[in-house]
Amino acid sequence: MIELNVQTIAFLICALFILGGGLGVVTTRNLIHATLYLILSLFGVAGFFVLLSAPFLAAVQVLVYIGAIAILIIFAVMLTRSMTQLRQVYNHQWTASAVVSGLLFALLVVGVILPVWGINGAQAVETVSEVVADTVDLGKALVDRNQYVLPFEVASLLLTAAMIGAIVIARDDE
């Protein structure tokens, strides 16, 4: 059974942050508020990472997502300012989207998550191992020639390209 201990409470709070923030993102008219809600949600995700014994990822989450991406979004919001307040929030297909999203959620839960990993699911996890690889292992994995060094290098290439691309696209034509 689900015990009510510190982990569970922490889980619930983080889940609240995540879902509440997400809800806020998709419903607020004001984009600055939406961005703030996004930041809240991202914090929640970071919390989850901590709970899941991946502290490095939590740190990267805060640094990259919140510290870079969310700030970037704020910049973008400010640069496109005139359009923030006065309009409708949703477009003409929002009902269909709601239905589809709801259906998707239901399908995922009932069709996939619960039957497979649920309480009496096919691959339900009974015991969780206490032995966890730590950040050193992650670092080793990222540069090990038999593991993920190639994607690592490609990723940096991707970042370079994206950076150059973004500059080119957003530059003022003079």
């Binding site: 477009n91 297909q93 269909a96 989207s97 589809v100 999203s101 259906l103 998707l104 399908l107 069709g111």
Partner: protein, 785 residues
């Protein structure tokens, strides 16, 4: 086979006889007949024809004239020479043998099963007699035409046509079977049409041409039926195989005919009657005589050719040739006449007297001669009817000579009269006539100037006194006329007519009815012949000229008059001396001179027939000779009394009119036969053509049927149009339209909005997931180990 073989073998030589004139025809038609175009009002065209005013008409060039005349004369000359060679060859075989043996040659012309139908040439004694006459008469006519047609704008064409005519006649004469003879017969019919209507600008001329052609055509059809029946019965048409063959003749005489066999008519009789009907048409016997007087519309050489030398002689030649067929089954020398012979006797003798009565009341110089020809042909037919085979042939030959002479002489008279008319107007009135030939329409109203009637150069009432200005013509005409009348002893006509009467009398003395009838009627006809001949001579040549034209009538000098008078002289010679080959040996004086042992003509020609059929020479009897003398001299004398002693003066009417009264009008109008035929045959036929055939059959039925087809086709077309619109357009256009409409509706899904696309992707993914779930994972579940 080369030319030498033809020339040296008497069997093959006859093939070449018709070749000369026929080749001349082709050469003139294809090569030498060249014309230049002149306005129709030019003098060279001669005569004013208002229909052609303002048009250009072809007039033959001088060089073409000369060339064509030369070619024509050479052609007939060759035919004449070759005929003479053949005649000498035939005479050389000897009387008695020639006949049993003949010159013949034939080629297989058409293969008919196991046998073949042959065409070829045959020269037997009858042919020899014809070959003496035909080429000579034709040659005379050719020479005459040089002068007579000298100013005609179509002289080359004329020569081409008379060359064809001569060629056809010669083909007919040398033919060895009925079919080839019929070919020549028909070609002559065509030529007569073209030549009678030679001056086609004149309405009366072309109408006469059509009349001649149609009338003879009617007879020719029946003759062709006879030929076909003969072929069906015997399988051959060759003369030697039918006529010189006792079994065939016997077979034909004893088979009952297809038609009327129940009445006792044998096949030979029916065939004979049909063939005789052909001759009745071709030789203008009653009732098909109506075309011959109208045929005088043609130029005089044509009249001479048709009515003396060629066409009508062809008719008589045909029945003389086919005589054995007519006699088969009967014994005319014993008074038993078969039906064809009876027909000939009746028709011939009736025609002889009938047309002699008409001739008495005619005023046109050529018309008298026309009726005289009909009458003389009647003589020949009647003679053949009673079995006088040789007499008929003899009379045919002599008649050809003197009749050709008479026609050509009358042509000279007419020519002279036109000349005189021209002169008279030069000196006298200022008249616009142009009479180089008689082509202008005598009833042409546009020429009405001061005269109240237009001048007819052929009317004997306008003539008179021509013996002074045209002496040669007068003497030759006189000789020909006396020969026609049968002037005793000195003329050829006497000997041939006498022989006919002798044969008839023989039968009369034995009590045969037909022979008696023939004798009486022919004697009467001979009397009338002599009378009207004297009348003609008197009105034309005796007394004083009755009109200014007659005063100045002459032929002039030069090549024209020479070529016209030379044939007259030659034929006059023959009209006297040709008769002396047929003098009976018992005749006093003359018999001893000309026929010491036998009658040469008789003894030569009789071998044409089978020995059983050869007639006996009639024993000499004074009665027929006396009859001949009486009728000839009587008729001549009567004519002399009426017309020579006190010749008619200008304006004086014919004494015959007063004498005969209303009968004269009937005779002058030819017993109204033309009007009768017009009312009985021509009018109803016209009505039938116009109303029934054109109006009903053609317009209603045929056009109606065609219109119906048109309407049906249109209806079908409309149907297809409908189908096209619905089906093809509907489907063919409908499908693309559907696709377009669907496409236009469906492309609205492409809004360009990304979020919509994403939504659709999400919906699709959910759908796939649902399907996945519904099929319980499908493949995935089974693949899992």
């Amino acid at each position: 086979m080369n030319l030498n073989d033809f020339l040296s073998d008497p069997n093959l030589l006859p093939w070449l006889i018709p070749v000369g004139p026929l080749l001349a025809f082709f050469i003139i038609t294809l090569a030498t007949n060249r014309a230049k175009l002149l306005p129709a009002t030019s003098e060279e065209y001669g005569g004013h024809h208002p229909d052609y005013d303002g048009m250009l008409v072809p007039v033959v060039t001088t060089r073409s004239r000369v060339l064509s005349i030369t070619v024509g004369l050479v052609g007939i000359g060759i035919a004449w020479i070759l005929s003479l060679v053949t005649v000498f060859n035939g005479l050389g075989v000897g009387a008695g043998k020639f006949g049993k043996t003949v010159f013949e040659n034939s080629i297989a012309w058409m293969a008919t099963g196991a046998t073949s139908f042959n065409m070829g040439v045959l020269v037997d004694p009858l042919t020899v007699a014809m070959l003496v006459m035909v080429p000579l008469a034709c040659a005379m006519i050719f020479i005459y035409s040089v002068g007579y047609m000298a100013h005609d704008p179509r002289q080359s064409r004329f020569f081409a046509l008379i060359a064809l005519f001569a060629g056809a006649m010669l083909t007919l004469v040398v033919a060895d079977n009925l079919l080839l003879m019929f070919v020549g017969w028909e070609v002559m019919g065509l030529c007569s049409y073209m030549l009678i209507g030679f001056w086609f600008e004149k309405k009366s001329a072309y109408e006469a041409a059509i009349k001649a052609f149609i009338t003879t055509r009617v007879a020719d059809v029946i003759m062709l039926l006879g030929i076909a029946y003969l072929y069906a019965e015997t399988g051959t048409l060759s003369f030697r195989e039918i006529l010189y063959n006792e079994e065939v003749l016997h077979h034909l005489a004893t088979t009952p005919a297809l038609l009327l066999g129940g009445l006792g008519l044998s096949a030979s009789a029916l065939i004979g009657i049909f063939l005789i009907i052909g001759t009745i048409g071709k030789s203008a016997q009653f009732p098909l005589h109506v075309w011959l007087p109208d045929a005088m519309e043609g130029p005089t050489p044509v009249s001479a050719m048709i009515h003396a030398a060629a066409m009508v002689s062809a008719g008589i030649y045909a029945i003389i040739r086919m005589y054995p067929l007519f006699e088969a089954g009967g014994h005319p020398h014993e008074g038993d006449l078969t039906s064809p012979l009876m027909l000939m006797a009746l028709v011939g003798s009736f025609t002889a007297i009938f047309s002699a009565t008409i001739a008495v009341a005619q005023n046109d110089v050529k018309r008298v001669l026309a009726y005289s020809t009909i009458s003389q042909l009647g003589f020949m037919m009647a003679a053949l009817g009673i079995g006088a085979y040789i007499a008929a042939a003899f009379h045919l030959i002599t008649h050809a000579f003197f009749k050709a002479l008479l026609f050509m002489a009358s042509g000279a008279v007419i020519h002279g009269m036109e000349h005189g008319e021209h002169h008279a107007h030069e000196h006298g009135h200022t008249h616009g006539h142009d009479e180089h030939h008689a082509a202008h329409d005598a009833r042409d109203e546009t020429h009405h100037h001061e005269e109240h009637h237009t001048f007819d150069p052929q009317d004997m009432m306008n003539m008179g006194g021509l013996r002074k200005t045209m002496p040669v013509t007068f003497y030759t005409f006189l000789i020909g006329g006396l020969s026609l009348a049968g002037f005793p002893l000195l003329t050829a006509g006497f000997w041939s007519k006498d022989e006919i009467l002798a044969d008839a009398y023989l039968g009369l003395s034995k009590g045969f009815g037909p022979h008696a009838l023939v004798f009486v009627l022919l004697a009467l006809a001979a009397f009338l012949t002599a009378f009207y001949t004297m009348r003609q001579l008197g009105l034309t040549f005796m007394g004083e000229p009755r009109t200014p034209a007659a005063e100045h009538a002459n032929l002039g000098r030069g090549i024209v008059s020479f070529t016209m008078t030379l044939p007259l002289i030659i034929l006059a010679f023959l009209a006297i001396f040709a008769g002396f080959v047929g003098v009976p040996p018992e005749f006093p004086v003359f018999g001893a001179i000309f026929s010491p042992e036998t009658n040469p003509f008789f003894e030569f020609v009789k071998y044409t027939l089978l020995p059983a059929m050869q007639p006996e020479k009639p024993p000499f009897n004074w009665l027929p000779v006396l009859t001949s003398f009486v009728v000839a001299l009587g008729g001549l004398g009567l004519g002399y009394l009426v017309y020579w002693r006190k010749p008619l003066k200008a304006g004086q009417p014919d004494p015959l009119v007063a004498f005969l009264g209303p009968v004269h009008t009937v005779l002058k109008n030819k017993y109204y036969f033309d009007e009768l035929y017009a009312a009985v045959f021509v009018k109803p036929l016209r009505w039938f053509s116009e109303v029934v055939v054109v109006g009903f059959l053609d317009r209603n039925i045929i056009d109606g049927f065609l219109h119906l087809i048109g309407r049906v086709a249109t209806w079908i077309g409309e149907l297809f149009k409908l189908l096209n619109t619905w089906l093809i357009d509907g489907v063919g256009d409908g499908i693309p339209e559907l696709v377009a409409v669907f496409g236009a509706w469906f492309r609205r899904i492409q809004t360009g909005r990304v979020q919509q696309y994403l939504l659709l992707i999400a919906i699709a993914a959910i759908l796939i997931a649902l399907i996945f779930a519904a099929t319980a994972g499908g493949v995935l579940v089974q693949a899992a180990p």
